[in-house]
Subunit: 397 residues, 2 copies
């Protein structure tokens, strides 16, 4: 009955979501405190108090016809202006409301941009491993996702490999730093190399190649690591942002796109993303939440908390003999599976109530993702299970 | 630079939205009270007080990790259960949480369903005139929208014409009652005729043909007119609902799909719409608003208010000599243009600061839509302009 393209998805579904649902079932059976669910990027740090206050104050004191009504499909003019000003303060840019489109989360924003950009058969490159859903977001519009392996170990982007993968069909490159699932943060030097490679290819093919910089983890970086602003390295950059992690509002679906004036075809794209927002059925980003985030631009999530989890995990897993990538940002730990059969490792972990997501879906088998945006207690309680597993694999010396 | 498929849209854009933007400009120039903007279905009745209270109470008293966090992509189990129970109370059905999928408005729900259903080249039938965006919602997934004229004048659905339009490629029929833009409400007899026609065609082709019943105006009907529950006439029915009009929350993008057990392929579709919600980038319906609507299921919008506008307009426009369809539901008046050049009429109306939307985009030239979900004062102030226009056209005897 269902569409051909959906059949494989219904059978395969998302490994992440399947694990999340499984985790809920295990939690019902054994008690939530006895299940160590590292499957989903669902922040454990609550939204800042200011969010709560903004929600109540706007709902109580502002005109409900304005707060809950339709606005321009790209979002409230004042909200977009406030976000532009905020970015200008951070990055020395000169954005205005017209450069900002409010979106139904970063996922909505990416769909809107690819709807605006892609013709069937066009190619979009990303470094693997990568966020599972990119395949769908590109495929929804007939595009083809081309995977270029990041440097195994550090998972830094490989500009030479990227350059080699560009063809005349390449319309965009998705960057995601801080990275899901590896925790890598791309340095200024990385970005310069990528920009140089793409400029060369733009010239060769006489057509723009856009960077889509997917930045839901922009503020989550550790040890003072800098997260550079991608548009200052490369003009043809569109930024996708979400408040899911920075304000712990993943369920609210609120984010934005930045389309800088300098990008090739700015005016046309600004119209196209406005229209794509409408015709894809998003219509506009949720209205109350638009107004809430505009009041909370200076709020910060508790990066220290995630850093505590990170240190606890990396120290313990290191001591147990596991191989993994030291995360510099985001809240994921990317762990090498101690046996080549990744599914077997995920299952053994699950027997110990450790819920991890297989790397295969992210485009790199032999690894698993541990989402450590969980409570401290979950990390602490999980450590003995990780230790037992290490013992069974003979990792612990 | 932009996608081929977007170019025509960027040039044409939506007539409704263009008029909405134009209205804002005119209002800046002449003052909002001197512009009579009947362009957009943006309710003028504020959200009920209970919505405000629910927003504050949930934000203040419930666990922010739950309220703003990820949940199953189909929505919170308890919210879905509460909506199922509510429908069971209204329609004597036996729905449970699994029959309800929370969506980013009705527009999101329709996109999700067509993503789940359509293969490229499939056909979806609707009665014209119809809500402009159906063309995109079907076209997004490679489907073709087939227009069957409703009975001109009453704009009741024509079951015989529908039957004649069904081909082996027909996968679905979109019904929209109370109707945008005509205000027609389909009777039980209408629905029985449609159901009989479709059952015959299902048998002939040996494949299901689904009704997608788009019902954002379900509660807005006048003079005691009944709005029948479509799934009780035809098993292969999916209902799309939105709180945009019933709770005046159009900007919040909150609605749901009903997939009844009896529909052919229920289990498969329930999975497919769950996955489509994720892969299209909606991810889930906005979380706080899911919880808010579950607390406001018994709230009603002020239908009396819209009815007041309706009576004022229909009495006056009738007296001025205009020809129009008496609206039985929704908040649109569908008016025959007094000259065949519809664009010329829309422009003459605009010169008098009357913003109307041309019928062509709805699939029926020679008519315009008047969205009377505006303030009473706007209707009152607009009447002299309608009268002048009638005089210029020699309608007023």
């Amino acid at each position: 009955m269902i569409a051909e393209g959906m059949k494989a998805m219904v059978n395969g579904s998302s490994a992440i979501r399947a694990m999340f649902e499984e985790g809920k079932k295990l939690a019902e059976k054994y008690g939530a405190e006895n299940v160590y669910d590292f499957s989903l990027g669902n922040p454990n740090v609550p939204a800042p108090e200011a969010v709560k206050e903004a929600i109540c104050s706007i709902a109580r004191d502002e005109d409900p016809l304005m707060v809950h009504g339709y606005m321009n499909n790209s979002g409230y003019e004042d909200v977009r202006g406030a976000i532009a000003d905020h970015l200008n303060g951070l990055y020395g840019t000169d954005y205005a409301a017209k450069n900002i489109t409010m979106t139904v989360g970063a996922a909505g924003g990416m769909n809107v941009f690819f709807k605006a950009l892609l013709n069937p058969g066009d190619e979009v490159i990303t470094f693997s491993p990568f966020f599972v859903e990119y395949r769908s977001y590109v495929g929804n519009y007939g595009g083809k996702l081309v995977e270029v392996p990041a440097v195994e170990g550090t998972f830094a982007p490989d500009a030479e490999a990227l350059k080699a993968a560009v063809t005349e069909k390449t319309r965009a490159v998705i960057l995601n730093s801080p990275n899901n699932p590896t925790g890598a943060v791309y340095s200024a030097a990385d970005l310069e190399a990528i920009a140089a490679a793409l400029r060369e290819k733009e010239e060769e093919y006489g057509a723009p190649i856009y960077i889509f910089s997917d930045e839901p983890y922009r503020e989550i970086a550790y040890d003072g690591v800098e997260v550079p602003w991608v548009p200052s390295f490369y003009d043809d950059t569109v930024v996708g942002y979400s408040y899911s992690k920075s304000l712990s509002l993943p369920g609210e679906r609120i984010g934005y796109l930045v389309l800088p004036n300098k990008m090739e075809g700015f005016e046309e794209f600004a119209s196209a993303v406005n229209i794509a927002t409408r015709v894809l059925g998003f219509v506009n980003a949720p209205s109350l939440m638009q107004r809430v985030v505009a009041r909370c631009l200076d709020e910060k999530t508790d990066v220290e908390f995630y850093d505590g989890n990170r240190k606890l995990l990396t120290e313990a897993l290191g001591a147990y003999g596991y191989t993994f990538t030291e995360p510099k940002g985001a809240f994921y730990l990317w762990l090498k599976t101690p046996e080549s059969d990744e599914a077997a490792f995920v299952n053994k972990a699950k027997e110990k109530h450790l819920l991890l997501v297989s790397g295969k879906g992210f485009g790199l088998a032999g690894w698993v993702r541990i989402a450590y945006c969980v409570s401290r207690q979950t990390v602490e309680n999980a450590l003995p299970a990780f230790k037992e597993l290490a013992e069974e694999y003979g990792l612990l010396k």
